[in-house]
Subunit: 363 residues, 2 copies
């Protein structure tokens, strides 16, 4: 079933079909959504919850929201953040009230980053980066946790309605700081409904599923008091580490490309990536590449080639042995260089607008 929506396959070590079964998720079907984006068309977005509520809101031009957050701990983001923003931008384009929460309270509490510093980082880097990745500030409601009293009102109620045992089951840990962060996150997720109930979609990596489930459990038991509409969620697969690991991660910088990153460094990493090329050129020409095991193709598919036809041609040439893994890497290097330069330019432009106070958000 996963194959159906992932025409170029995937050799990622994690079995996403198993995740769908274990967590009781819905399989994401790109045909349910108008003009699905690259991630949706290619099975990178692979599952969700209560997706029909959102597709119907889009088709019926009804109010709904799409929400994500910024954790301003460093001035870097990664491809996982990029996917969230691209999905957010998709829903924004299709009518969603778009909400971005800057988790400054959490950054202060968990990482000891002063609130003023968190605010500065968000304005200097994260928000410009999100705009560079396609978010339209004029259609985005941006808020800082530390400014938002309504979030804490919901968080307080969540703390009352969710039991100690549920927290333990969800997170393993029941340390107070974890609980405080979790209920605040629930407050963030539901905040757009504080004054008016409406469907909302939260695009996340699959590792964020516990937050979604806990929020949904809370919503399910608050009908009388608040009448929140149950939230929907959208899950994307990880961008794998270039060495073939499940996901890019700070703990393995050689396999991971951050945004921003120096294009030369990025190319060097790509050149050392795990590919599906054969041991000898002769063998490669004869058997073709094992595209499913190729981390460079996965990067092209997830992030660097927008046009489906172009990707199909690369796939065919590489699979057929006509293109070598060296040639594939060169394509990826050229494309990531272009992407990283474009990202930096657009981020810098948005930063200038932010400094000139010419970024116009909804509030």
């Amino acid at each position: 079933m996963l194959k159906l929506i992932d025409p170029w396959g995937s050799a990622l070590p994690e079995d996403y079909a198993k995740i769908i079964a274990d967590f009781g998720l819905e399989v994401f079907n790109p045909r349910d959504f108008p003009d699905p984006n690259r991630l949706m068309r290619r099975g990178v977005v692979f599952a969700g919850r209560d997706l029909k509520r959102i597709s119907e809101a889009i088709r019926g031009r009804k109010k709904f929201y799409a929400l994500s957050g910024i954790m301003p701990t460093s001035e870097r983001i990664h491809f996982g953040n990029k996917m969230v923003i691209e999905n957010l931008a998709y829903f924004q384009k299709h009518g969603a009230k778009t909400v971005i929460c800057v988790a400054d309270l959490e950054a202060a509490a968990v990482r000891g980053i002063p609130l003023a510093e968190a605010r500065k980082r968000a304005l200097d880097f994260h928000i410009p980066a999100y705009i560079a990745l396609g978010l339209d500030p004029r259609k985005t409601l941006l808020y800082f946790q530390s400014d938002n009293r309504d979030v804490m009102k919901i968080a307080f109620e969540a703390a009352q309605k969710i039991t100690y045992n549920e927290f333990r089951a969800t997170y393993g840990s029941t340390e107070p700081g974890r609980i405080m962060s979790a209920v605040t996150q629930i407050g963030d997720i539901l905040y757009p409904q504080f004054k008016e109930s409406m469907p909302g979609i939260i695009p996340v990596g699959i590792d964020q599923e516990p937050h979604i489930r806990l929020t949904r459990d809370f919503v399910a038991r608050t009908h009388a008091s608040h009448k929140f509409t149950q939230i929907s969620s959208l899950y994307h697969k990880y961008t794998p580490s270039l060495d073939g690991g499940l996901k890019m991660s700070k703990s393995l910088p050689e396999g991971s490309i951050d945004l921003p990153e120096d294009p030369k460094t990025a190319c060097a990493k790509i050149k050392r990536a795990l590919t599906g090329g054969r041991d000898t050129l002769e063998e490669h020409r004869r058997l073709g590449a094992v595209v499913e095991k190729d981390m460079v193709f996965e990067l092209l598919k997830q992030h660097l080639v927008e046009d489906d036809k172009e990707l199909q041609e690369i796939y065919d040439d590489y699979k057929g042995g006509k293109m070598t893994s060296g040639e594939l890497k060169q394509i990826a290097c050229d494309k990531i260089t272009e992407f990283l330069k474009d990202f930096e330019e657009k981020t810098a432009q948005a930063r200038e607008l932010a400094k000139a106070k010419e970024l116009h958000f909804i509030i």
Copy 2:
């Protein structure tokens, strides 16, 4: 040692000396404070923590604060609240920046009282009642939890710094709602120091000691980041139930007088109270009353007789058998009638000022 500061003794079932020893509290000595109030002079205020910091601030005319809260769950308070306010008013009179927090978030979360309703109750009843009991609004900083973002900033940090095991040791319970309330209360207690470190005193009933201890534990480990000054606390004994129980309580309305209360009802309760009178008049005249077991005398001592000389005369007459318990009850009935009428009148006046928006708080 307790006797020294409690000249009229006490037959309360709880051994307050044991509490002092068990909790490692300081014995409160009224001679350390200028013009001690009725509760201080009579050993009703019996202990504290870091009291020297406050007495020195008073003598040296240095900045300090005194803080308490309003839990606007019902439009009634009890004698325990009255004692807190009287102590707060004492410190206010002696130079304390006085802070009252309306715990509307907690009332909403724990008791399901809508925030608007909590606000209304606080303005209609609690704040006027506190003014009736001696608080000067012009010298009081009043805030609502749901309006105060800085409280949540401190609460977030407290949640990070206090462990699960500490919560369990402090409260027995580790339910998320309890944790959320506890860290928010820590935020409230320290909020007056958010911008400027200064000593602060929190007058409470002895049952609130766990909150104080947890707050002090948190302060002790935040020197680097915030430099809060360690808080001081002041503990008063309970007003005993009229039937001789440890404290007045909703669960035994016959032994408990609320504020407000119909004076006739209050007198009827006093008439049925446990006294130290003897079985027969002859015996009473001969042996005198057992004042230490007399709940009516305790009420007079704690709340109804301001003048020490007057109280001493009542004590002597009753102890000497000259005054019967019936006569003592009549005195208490007269005095509580006067007090309750005065309380209602003053509360009504302050309520009118509040409605006309003529109550001028610091903010």
